[in-house]
Amino acid sequence: MSHLTISRRVFIGSIAYLVTAPTLAFVPFAKVSDSALPVTTDGQFFTASELTILADIAEFMIPKTVTPGATDAHVIAVLDAMMLTWASTKTQTQFRQLIKQIQLLSSDTLGASYAKQPLEQRSKFIAELDKQAFQHPDTQISMHYRKFKDIVFHIYYTSKEANPDYQLIPGTYKGCVSADELSNKGQTL
């Protein structure tokens, strides 16, 4: 996979939507052409197009492997509902801004809107966004992204799909069991 870089200037510049120059035009586009799987129905909070982008990003964060991914765990659908029952107006604004910032960053970096990028480009783009977000934690886009990532991970790791061996009622505590004994009983963390 070829390397993709979001320049520091572009990353930080996205704070105020002032990014103007496509700085990554030199990056060869991947041949894969499957754009983000569109969500066709508006959610309770997010629009269909917003859900498309968020669901795509969440799956890059926590992809399906031999275990379920973010999509399998309905992470963004749960988040959409939580935007009305959990999120403050500040968080609601943050996440909407994040989508816009990602779109802008994608246009400036890759020359097209995020959802229309091929899979490999989107993957590299989000990986780079993640890296930059933790390198420049004081920027607005970083704060928005890290907050989004945090809640995506929280929803995923509290999902039924991510905890197939969860026991609501363990019935007992055993403080020294083997891995085999544990797998027979189920995990309780």
Partner: protein
């Protein structure tokens, strides 16, 4: 119409429930007044049967609370989650006052059952040395009772509530009426064994939990079942496996037919008859209508929690008691205490890489206070213990708050890590006269009751304890064979909030001398014979053990005494 009862119990928490049960079972018409709302045991407010994915907002507290400045004193606490938030009072709605440089954390639960719904369930007897500490080193008011006075009442209370514990044979932490203990993890057993091998005076023991493991016929008759190792206790327990007023004492009181419960009623003050020199009842404010009314009884038991009971007394002024009811000594509001924790340590426990734990044990392990006698290395009096745990192996966690996404990151997440042992110091705060609660001169709450003003802090003795406790735990963990020892110690210039451990005590201390104490050895007012205060307010020192078991024993003993006085017509 005058509403008259034999007894009024103010508060339905851990001591209020006990007072209600004991009086009702002795045949007295008993009124329990609770300021919070009614909660049904096992009802819809309990969230213990919800899996993580079933809990609203995946157990995240709505962010609007922060925007609105609500729950600011507890919003950073692990126990305050979406599944438990209904059991905690909002400090914005129920403010208190304190000096700007000495903030206080008063964690409250305003519902039927009070904090017994959310308590830590660690039930530890005090030892003989704890009751003589004040007399021995001259701090605070000497206790008018000793361990032997309370021992049979500890038995009595433990038998009813159900205590799962090991018989450890320690003088500093007497054994009692126990059910089958919880087991230690292999890492905890390893540390316990090594500490016992190297020290004569220190032990790591399994905690003593008010979670039943072998329910008695009496407990089963109340609908209580064995603990299922879920550790969701703070969400309420549908099984009734942990002791609370809702699961045990109030149902026991209710089945006598002698119990009346009034919720949504804040006791504003206690009625006092100057002529008879007796209390005659209480004034309450209905929290829904804000209307006031009175209830009358032959005896009043204050069980509203340490700070709240003192607040009621301070607000109950009369010609005879212009500075607060039962306050001829002038000691009301003084000597307030809490446990404090200035040291948190954790360390890796080597070995056992092929071992895991199953289930969620509802209790931690415990290192009891080993510093009752002043050792050569101590520049303080009293001592400290540690609440500790290694009940599960740690795991690698996730990358939610650090860089990295994708399959490789996912596969590396939540993977088993070596066992780690965590220890939190619990120190004994001395009873200082200067640490006091009073009524704010002009600020009032939404019901027109003066706000409580808390002015309290730890002093040099406690700071010195922290330094030594830090050294001690490092030494113990080293000795126990641990590695990668990390210690967080609160700096000298950092304020430690009173109330942070949720063990507020004092303010209406027991003592033999009416000139220096508020209550006698029966937790009965020196000044007003039909007034008792049996919650944390009555404590003359705070020891290092979790105090609820002692409150319960004091309450049951006080009711037994009041029963005799009532029958004799003395009160």
């Amino acid at each position: 119409m005058k509403q008259k009862y034999d007894v009024i119990v103010v508060g339905s928490g851990i001591t209020g429930g006990w007072a209600a049960k004991e009086f009702c079972e002795k045949g007295y018409n008993t009124l329990v007044i609770e300021r919070g709302r009614h909660v049904e045991h096992g009802g819809e407010e309990y969230t213990d049967m919800q899996a993580p994915w079933d809990i609203e907002n995946r157990n995240k507290v709505p962010e609007i609370f922060d925007e609105q400045g609500r729950y600011q004193t507890i919003n950073d606490k692990g126990y305050f989650k979406n599944a438990t938030k209904q059991f905690f009072a909002d400090d914005k709605e129920h403010p208190i006052s304190y000096p700007d440089d000495k903030p206080v954390r008063w964690v409250r639960s305003y519902q039927l059952g009070g904090r017994s719904v959310t308590w830590g369930r660690q039930v530890l007897r005090w030892g003989p040395k704890d009751f003589i500490a004040n007399a021995k080193d001259g701090h605070g008011i000497p206790w008018p009772i000793g361990y032997d006075d309370l021992a049979p009442w500890y038995d009595y209370v433990e038998r009813f509530i159900g205590v799962s514990a090991n018989r450890d044979g320690l003088d500093v932490l007497p054994d009692g009426v126990f059910q089958k203990p919880w087991e230690m993890s292999c890492a905890e057993q390893y540390i316990a064994k090594n500490i016992a091998k190297h020290y004569d005076d220190r032990r790591l023991i399994i905690g003593r939990a008010a979670n039943i493991t072998e329910p008695t016929p009496e407990q089963m008759a109340l609908g209580r079942a064995p603990c299922q190792a879920r550790s969701y206790c703070k969400r309420g327990c549908t099984f009734g496996a942990y002791f609370s007023s809702l699961s045990a004492t109030l149902p026991a009181a209710k089945r006598t037919g002698k119990l009346t419960i009034v919720t949504d009623a804040v006791v504003e003050s206690i009625l006092y008859d100057n002529k008879q020199q007796r209390v005659t009842g209480v004034n309450i404010v209905d929290t829904n209508t804000k209307q006031t009314r009175q209830y009358h009884a032959r005896t009043v038991f204050l069980c509203a929690s340490a700070f709240a009971s003192v607040q009621i007394l301070l607000n109950s002024t009369s010609e005879h008691f212009p500075n607060g009811l039962a306050n001829s000594s002038g000691m009301l509001g003084h000597y307030i205490m809490d446990h404090f924790s200035g040291v948190v340590a954790h360390a890796e426990v080597p070995g056992y890489e092929d071992k895991f734990a199953y289930g969620r044990r509802p209790i931690a392990t415990y290192i009891p206070n080993y510093r009752h006698e002043k050792l050569a290395d101590a520049n303080f009096v009293r001592g400290y213990g540690y609440q500790a745990t290694a009940q599960h192996r740690r795991n690698t966690g996730t990358h939610a708050k650090k860089a990295g996404i994708g399959a490789a990151v996912k596969d590396a997440s939540m993977q088993p890590q070596p066992w780690r042992f965590l220890a939190i110091m619990y120190g004994e705060m001395l009873p200082y006269f200067s640490n006091r609660i009073s009524l704010h001169p002009n600020k009032k709450d939404q019901w027109g009751i003066p706000l409580l003003h808390v002015d309290a802090e730890i002093h040099e003795n406690e700071r010195n304890m922290i330094k030594r406790a830090s050294l001690d735990i490092v030494e113990m963990l080293n000795t126990a064979g641990c590695t990668d020892i990390k210690v967080n110690q609160v700096p000298d210039d950092e304020h430690i909030q009173i109330g942070d451990r949720i063990h507020e005590m004092g303010g209406a201390c027991m003592g033999a001398d009416p000139k220096t104490s508020v209550l006698n050895k029966w937790a009965q007012s020196h000044d007003v014979p039909n007034l008792f205060v049996t919650d944390g307010a009555c404590m003359s020192s705070c020891a290092t053990q979790n105090p609820s078991l002692t409150y319960m024993a004091i309450t049951a003993r006080a009711v037994d005494y009041a029963d005799k006085l009532l029958k004799q017509g003395v009160i």
